[in-house]
Symmetry: C2
Subunit: 342 residues, 2 copies
């Protein structure tokens, strides 16, 4: 294909076009572009996992309904989640902080305190970085490294037709929380608070990711940053398979259902396309369902919830009472803003 | 000191205030905040070096006089320079690319091509990253890792009173190039071209850094991103020493002198405070001058140039015919814009 004709409209196509420029990585690069983290064979049996994520004010967050401490927590959490999605353990972080010239710099300390609170919680040491003036708004880049035993690392690419598709927890809380914040909806705080908290201070599922990796129970895994529709599509594309998600099996909490009805939103839409749940989405052979349930229960973790199965082909289908609908890539695209919400 | 009273006006004070929030790193962190890179003991005798740098349109670069390919080159080069300043060898990079929603995304491919050109030149593999929408202008974050044998790593903190202070090349070319670009000065291209090139496509001095590290000839080292005044201050602060720079010994090329007179600027000012030369500034015992010269000549590198000496105390002094002037921290501060030029 002629480079000038590249379909650059979607984020996946954009990243793939960029990846082509960078060519084939050297052999000590176990995983390059196209997974949650890069992985390097630097130290015998374990791989160094490495990820980077940028969050920009006005695009990824709004300080009118989020404190700087919450932003600090979230900036670390989303990177930690990428390490967890490979079955790894996060260890170190560097911060690149873009701060507007005219903004009170005491706020940067509040941000750092929230970041450090998450770092302590998830066993990460913030060991360096860079501060620069930002032309508009706060721009945060975190880069995090961690470790995974080489034999345990879980990629996006191992899903097989017949595997079941699981998530580590309920979906849509974060999206419902965001809607409540944006629309400043008056809701009982019993409903509102946990949803808002899910959006502002997400908890990456590192223990679940480690457990799945250690026991070899996941064939493919990704963290839910963009929503099931998009993230399952990433697994399917990397694994060269399709998927069928049963609408009736998508785990949505009663809180999301309550909030959705008040917001006049479809709860299933929030759960599948809202994104930012930072639960893990993984595939596992159907015969291992009981082993999965037992392992999670023994580890004191809530058992994973099955919401569909891996199929041959390349389509991601949602099965409802009305039939089948293709939801491939229908989640949040940072550039196209398919979900139209951020 | 009460946290709310922290003097947050300077970049050094700002970074130190942030560093306090992050506390003491674990023992496998050989170097944390306060050097060109963080260093991790992850693999026997060698340390993993790790750095991150953000460049924002309108703050660090202007696309009206710089191509996207040149930006790609420079974004990698400034990170590679940080690895070189520890005596290390750069190996891998992740890119976080913030691209405005309304900007033609074909430009991102041009950027990636320039980045990849530098990556090939400096032996770096770009192995992953992240793309996000930027609220204003292009924002580039690169994070680069590399290796240095643990016994060879050169920090900022080893300078001793009596050491001589060297640079690996002439100074001020980049600052003169920037002034020419900004003021759209008409100059003979024989003068103009190399200065502009020094600004747009700097060459990090990795071979010189490796040589100094391998032979143990540098007691402290930093790369010249902010200018001698600021960067020497960083070495002095980390080493708890002072310095005397002889104005007459500061290496300024005839091209810079020519350009400075046409620009009505002081060439010494461009050389000491302009920044972005990406030469290495290092200290070395005075008795090793001959060994230095020989090693560089044998390696086919231009011999380092001495411009002053390390002293007791904590002041960075410039010695001119008129006497002594304290130039501590008089270089470019990203927030205060002390040099007033960017």
């Amino acid at each position: 294909m002629n480079k000038n004709e590249l379909p650059l409209s979607g984020e996946t196509a954009f990243i793939e076009a960029l990846a082509r420029e960078f060519g084939t990585p050297p052999p000590d690069v176990i995983l390059g572009i196209g997974d949650d983290c890069a992985a390097l064979a630097v130290d015998g049996d374990r791989y160094l996992l490495w990820t980077v994520d940028t969050m920009a004010e006005g695009v990824h967050f709004d300080l009118s309904y989020m404190s700087l401490a919450q932003l600090g927590w979230k900036a670390l959490a989303v990177n930690v989640s990428d390490i967890g999605a490979m079955g790894g353990e996060p260890r170190y972080a560097l911060l690149s902080l873009g701060w507007p010239r005219n903004r009170d710099r005491a706020g940067a300390l509040e941000f750092a305190q929230g970041l450090q609170q998450a770092a302590r919680e998830f066993g990460v040491a913030v060991i360096g970085g860079d501060t620069v003036a930002s032309p508009q708004g706060v721009v945060i880049t975190l880069t995090v490294t961690g470790w995974v035993p080489g034999s345990e690392m879980v990629r996006r690419s191992g899903a097989q037709a017949g595997d079941l598709i699981y998530v580590t927890g309920v979906l849509g809380d974060s999206a419902a929380g965001l809607e409540i914040l944006k629309n400043r909806v008056e809701l009982d705080s019993v409903v509102k608070k946990p949803l808002i908290q899910a959006h502002l201070t997400p908890r990456p599922q590192v223990p679940a990711g480690r457990l799945l990796a250690r026991l070899g129970l996941a064939t493919a895994m990704i963290d839910l940053s963009d929503g099931v529709a998009t993230d399952l599509f990433h697994i399917c594309r990397a694994s060269r398979v399709g998927a069928r998600v049963k609408a009736a099996s998508v785990p949505v909490s009663p809180l999301v259902k309550t909030a959705a009805s008040l917001l006049n939103r479809d709860p299933l839409d929030l759960a599948l396309k809202g994104g930012e749940d930072y639960q893990l989405l993984f595939t596992s052979p159907s015969r291992k369902g009981e082993a999965l349930r037992q392992a999670f229960t023994q580890a004191g973790l809530p058992p994973p919830l099955a919401l569909g199965e891996v199929t041959p082909g390349d389509r991601v289908l949602l099965v409802t009472e009305m039939g089948e609908e293709d939801i491939s890539g229908a989640g949040f695209d940072h550039f196209r803003g398919v979900s139209g919400e951020r």
